[in-house]
Symmetry: C2
Subunit: 339 residues, 2 copies
DNA sequence: CTGAAAGCGCTTACAG
DNA sequence: CTGAAAGCGCTTACAG
């Protein structure tokens, strides 16, 4: 029986040595029964398990991680907690990480995010085994250079000239589909309500919008393109206001996010314009409120849960030493009432 | 210059000994300039800083935390990522933790959450310095017993016979205010759309509803009380359906969550009932969509950001050794169009 | 001001 | 099957 140095370590959680002492074995043995890593004699095991129970012992994750070289924690970078779209993706991520025994560290990756963020700083330093980023491309880029050796996976966003794999739908094609739908319904003056093009997806949806129009021989009218200052409902209202002021307003609006679409509809309604009779409005994302809102939103549905789940799987696979290739999932056009 | 044992540690991040070697000092000195904990000679400091820069060194947070006895990580338990109400609270939490150099580990605390969750399991074991819980009281209770020595703070929920401080509005009083408002508008048949009473707040709002009715000498009609099977929009629709089937339906509905209220309105609309003309609907929370929805929601606003921020402050104060007393913040009745 | 050494709580070859 | 010991990468008395 070994001699313990610090016997009365206050009320603090029992350590492995306390368990060893209690069971009359070495800490190595305790470790073995805890991890099932090596055969242990039946009654030795029983004694250890009894000691664990008696002391309410739980291995200190910090020490364990330090030795194992992994924390089983994944960092998730989201641009905005409040956007339901991101929340759904996180749910997808969570579903697979939970199954695999990983925890999630979530940080809001705003523009201001940088090395001065002590929180993130601590994470970079081996607190997480890898990161899943939904952050704006513009925010992501500089971060990548700072923390080169952590495995990254981008979700919805991506970084072309890098080895960061990504999981996403084909934003450009989805936008083409949306605009084509509007064209098919006879619209010729179609406005684009875009989001900050710090988001790669915003840029790509914008490209899809222009492509679809050009393909239909409709000239791009710069005034019909409005960039919202955020993705909250109010930002959609504001941006739509500008459209309202035009002498020849659009007959249809393609918004790159449902939140923006809903904000726009609100703005239109306020001045007595009916949707879709006077203006058709298409959204993007198919967030939960899209179907209960009135008029219910015609929108592009992203397989959000799957997006998150796939990103998590990709990262886990990579952590397990596997190769990681990017993935493109399918989108779908959901026709409801707003367009 | 000391001899390094493991020289070619692959590409892995530089360790403190690598920095020490590079700068020609001991690791103790490196630690001191890193932490500014003790005076260091100016040019020694310069040499160390140069080495840190050259090697791109960042302290290993795991080892550091193990020594310091703190991780500067806080665990946030949310019942549902998808509910905008919780998202806003998390934003409040994040604003203060970020300022204080703390990171957030977020886990979804569903009913199924238990010791089999490897993710949470690792957290309990000293991965987080404390926890802020928005979890259902019913889920929270058993967890508390498992991890007794972590400092907890409950937000919106609470645990009466424990030393867990909480930050919340007065849910019961808020419900009384809501129902009284409805009564003042002449309603007599007021339904309650409640949420799972695993949530303490649901139970309290329910109590407030009954109190207000009784105070007005209106008998409680059990059929007018419906418990939704969740807090998503669809759950509100479902629960409202039952109300619709009544021979003498209510003239007003008080929903304990905006999501539920919106779902109910949708259900009413589907069968041609107008809100608020045929049925008035009141919500609770004032989530972002409440004001853009049509009809805009009359609701009880909770100071969500403040709630989250206060919970974080309370926890931080406690971690700093301070005392922790519970806090009740003010709610507000927002009159818009739905009631 | 600086270094050698102990120690945080674990895991894992290495012997036996 | 089991233990003594080294080591993960740090921080911090203890000497000097």
């Amino acid at each position: 029986m070994s001699v313990k140095t610090n016997k009365a370590k206050a009320s603090a959680t029992a350590s492995i040595s306390a368990v060893a002492e209690h069971a009359g074995v070495s800490i190595a043995t305790v470790s073995r029964v805890l991890n099932g890593t090596k055969a242990v004699n039946a009654d030795t095991r029983a004694r250890v398990e009894a000691a664990v129970g008696a002391l309410g012992y739980r291995a200190n994750a910090l020490a364990r991680s330090l030795m194992r070289g992994e924390t089983r924690l994944l960092l998730v970078l989201v641009p905005d907690f409040a956007n339901p779209y991101f929340a759904e993706i996180v749910k997808g991520v969570e579903s697979v990480t939970r199954e695999n025994g990983y925890g999630l560290v979530i940080a809001e990756a705003s523009q201001t995010l940088s090395r001065d963020s002590a929180a993130l700083d601590s994470l970079y330093n081996r607190m997480a085994d890898g990161v899943i980023s939904l952050a704006r491309f513009a925010d992501l880029k500089p971060l990548l250079q700072e923390i080169p050796d952590l495995p990254w996976v981008a979700c919805s966003e991506f970084v072309d000239d890098s080895d960061v794999p990504s999981v996403s739908i084909d934003h450009r094609q989805a936008a083409i589909d949306a605009v084509q739908y509007l064209l098919n319904r006879g619209h010729q003056r179609i406005a684009l309500l875009s989001a900050s093009e710090d988001y790669r997806w915003a840029r790509q949806r914008h490209a899809g919008y222009e492509f679809a129009l050009r393909r239909a021989n409709i000239p791009i009218e710069p005034q019909l393109v409005r960039v919202a200052r955020g993705t909250d409902y109010v930002h959609g209202m504001d941006a739509a206001g500008a459209l309202l002021a035009m002498e020849q307003p659009p007959t249809a609006v393609f918004a790159v996010a449902d939140t923006l679409a809903i904000g726009a509809i609100k703005a239109f309604r306020r001045v007595g314009r009916r949707v879709p009779e006077d203006v058709a409005v298409m959204g993007f994302d198919d967030i939960p409120v899209a179907q209960v809102f009135e008029p219910a939103l015609t929108t592009i549905a992203q397989p959000v849960r799957e997006l998150g789940a796939a990103a998590a799987q990709l990262l886990l696979k990579r952590l397990a030493g596997g190769a990681s290739e990017s993935l493109t999932l399918d989108h779908a056009l959901i026709v409801r009432a707003s367009a």
